[in-house]
């Protein structure tokens, strides 16, 4: 698997030399952000997948010895590694399960945005004319909205739940994606190999799938990586405001919200989910940045 990952796709810039396969260590020295970011993301994905195995306790059920005799949450100790919360639940288990929600929302919202954005961006860029104008106006509208506020309102109207959160984020997050893809399609469309495919008798959709899409995929992957990071932050914000994942189901955002009032008393309630959130987002941002350096060499040179 490693070799497949490390074999770079061919640069779209014509005339550049083929990138050679390089050893892992050389690659890691040259693009440390790809490796570090990728590692963080990989770990978080594994945590999310194996949360039921890794977690020692039920994240939603208060434990019989989860509170001190005074009824206060327990600080981190050898039994409850990250302490317990005000309900007497194991914070470590809750943080692990929180990774599930975060990645699920980040990923699915990203996919929805990608799907809508790619469809509209391709149609807009490839066919042009009045279709392009309508779609671009629509994009302007969506981009003019206060994003967070609007997603909060949408979730409030639809009833808060994990599914509704990623639908709301996805449905309003496509605009930037559509713009990026449209720009790429516009650039690729005029290239002679697309004209060549037309002269060979290929149909519009055949050309879009075979000639245009493979050449716009790099910026899309980069943007998608960064967007997943932003979606994770957004989900946490929504849950923090009370419009995301509903208690007792754990999400890093609602854990921070619940712990807010106990910051002085039980700082681990804030630090544990907060640091997980921060590290995950850093992971995606690093990976996205690194991928851009690696795959899109014209930026920043």
């Amino acid at each position: 698997m490693n070799n497949a990952v490390l074999e770079p796709s061919l640069s779209p810039a014509a005339g550049t030399a083929v990138k050679r396969r390089m050893s892992f260590w050389r690659f890691a020295r040259r693009y440390p952000s790809v490796v570090v970011g990728g590692l963080i993301v990989l770990i978080m994905v594994l945590i999310a997948l194996f949360a039921p195995v890794l977690a020692h306790y039920d994240p939603t059920r208060p434990l019989s010895d989860g509170l001190s005799q005074m009824g206060a949450p327990l600080p981190p100790n050898h039994k409850y590694w990250l302490g317990t919360d005000t309900e007497g639940r194991d914070v470590f288990s809750r943080v692990l399960y929180g990774a599930r929600v975060s990645l699920e929302v980040g990923f699915f919202a990203g996919l929805i945005s990608l799907f809508i954005g790619a469809l509209l961006g391709i149609i807009s860029g490839y066919f042009g004319g009045w279709v392009d104008m309508v779609i671009m106006r629509l994009t302007d509208m969506v981009l003019a909205f206060p994003f967070l506020l609007f997603v909060v309102a949408l979730v409030a109207v639809m009833k808060p739940s994990v599914t509704n959160v990623f639908i709301a984020i996805g449905v309003f997050g496509w605009a930037q994606m559509a713009r990026i893809i449209r720009g790429q399609v516009l650039a690729v469309k005029e290239l002679e190999y697309v004209q060549a495919a037309r002269s060979l008798g290929a149909s519009a959709w055949n050309i879009i799938f075979k000639e245009v899409l493979p050449n716009v995929i790099t910026p899309v992957v980069i943007y998608l990586t960064l967007a997943i990071g932003q979606n994770i932050l957004l989900e946490a914000s929504l849950s923090f405001l009370g419009f995301g994942v509903q208690p007792p189901e754990p999400s890093w955002g609602n854990m921070i919200q619940e712990g807010m009032a106990y910051f002085q008393l039980a700082p681990w309630l804030i630090y544990a989910p907060g640091l997980m959130l921060l590290i995950t987002t850093i992971g995606f941002n690093l990976l996205g940045d690194g991928l851009r350096d690696w795959l899109d060499p014209k930026v920043g040179r």
Partner: protein
């Protein structure tokens, strides 16, 4: 004249110039303006003109890669301009194009084999094994090693890429190939190799060429006949030899005089073109060339010369010959 493969009559391509709030059309760039000619089966018709004269647009309008504004293109006995998109796609097998820029005309994401098999896939021709065999033989025919099929475009030089572009044009067994400045982007040393290859292929597959170039010397020995274009219109059309020996149009004469002559003893008067190429958005009235013509008369400024055959097979649009 019964075996005309391609008949172009009064072909026009205007690009609208839009202005104002409502993007109303306020004028047109007449990239191709009323061009007519025929191409005989098996011949090579060279099209020559300065850059921006509309020759590439014309090539693409003939194939309907750009929708022409008016006029008619007849290929064999089919009127291309009236054809539905679906039947046009089928007919594209018979007419192919080779592009100017060998770096942009091959999709960098695909192996050469995929690029060459794709046309056959699109039209559902041959079995996969036959396709691969065909690709190998075409590569060989075009002077490349069959192992090239396993490589990506950026592993090849410009000349090699152009050979691949030519091989792609041949995959569907076309009868007509539009060569859109196929050697302009190549080194001079490579140019002649490609031209030789094109000549070989023409003979082997009885191909008909429409060879577009901006340089008369390039088309000189490959073309049977040559048409000279200026600002979207044809100025002169004649047999290759006759055009070089006895050019009629002052524009053709000027172009010819600019070709360097290898023999230092031959003294020749150079006709310098005055001024710049006028904007095709606002072409001069009358004869489009009158602003730069050394023989311009008053009538040239007001009346457009008619396209007529002044000698057998020799057409010209110039008031000097009316």
């Amino acid at each position: 004249m019964s075996d005309a493969l391609l008949t172009v009559s009064n072909l026009k391509k205007y690009f609208p110039i839009r202005k104002g709030v409502l993007r109303r059309t306020v004028g047109h760039v007449k990239a191709v303006d009323d061009v007519s000619f025929t191409v005989q089966k098996g011949e090579t018709l060279g099209i020559v003109g300065e850059s921006g004269c509309g020759k590439s647009t014309m090539g693409r309008s003939i194939l309907r890669l750009i929708e022409p504004t008016g006029g008619e293109v007849k290929f064999e006995n089919t009127n291309l301009t009236k054809l539905s998109k679906g039947s046009l796609r089928t007919l594209r097998q018979k007419m192919q194009i080779v592009f100017q820029d060998p770096y942009a005309s091959l999709n960098p994401k695909f192996k050469i084999g995929t690029i060459l098999e794709r046309p056959m896939q699109i039209h559902g021709l041959y079995t996969p094994a036959e396709r691969r065999k065909r690709v190998a033989s075409l590569l060989e025919r075009c002077g490349l090693d069959p192992s090239a099929a396993e490589k990506y475009p950026n592993e090849f030089s410009g000349g090699q890429r152009q050979r691949i572009g030519i091989a792609r044009a041949l995959t569907l067994n076309p009868s007509l190939i539009v060569l859109d400045e196929p050697v302009s982007a190549l080194d001079v040393s490579v140019q002649s190799q490609i031209i030789n290859l094109l000549e070989d292929l023409q003979e082997a597959f009885s191909l008909t060429y429409l060879f577009i170039a901006h340089d008369l010397s390039v088309v000189r020995h490959i073309s049977d006949r040559i048409a000279v274009m200026y600002l979207g219109q044809t100025m002169e059309l004649a047999e290759s030899l006759e055009l070089f020996e006895a050019p009629l149009h002052p524009y053709t004469q000027a172009l010819l005089s600019a070709i360097p002559v290898p023999d230092p003893d031959v003294k020749r008067e150079r006709i310098l073109l005055r001024g710049d190429l006028p904007s095709p958005a606002n072409p001069p009235a009358g004869c489009p060339f009158h602003t730069r013509c050394k023989d311009a008369k008053d009538i040239c400024k007001t009346k457009k010369p008619v396209w007529k055959e002044v000698r057998p097979g020799h057409h010209v649009a110039c008031h000097l010959y009316s």
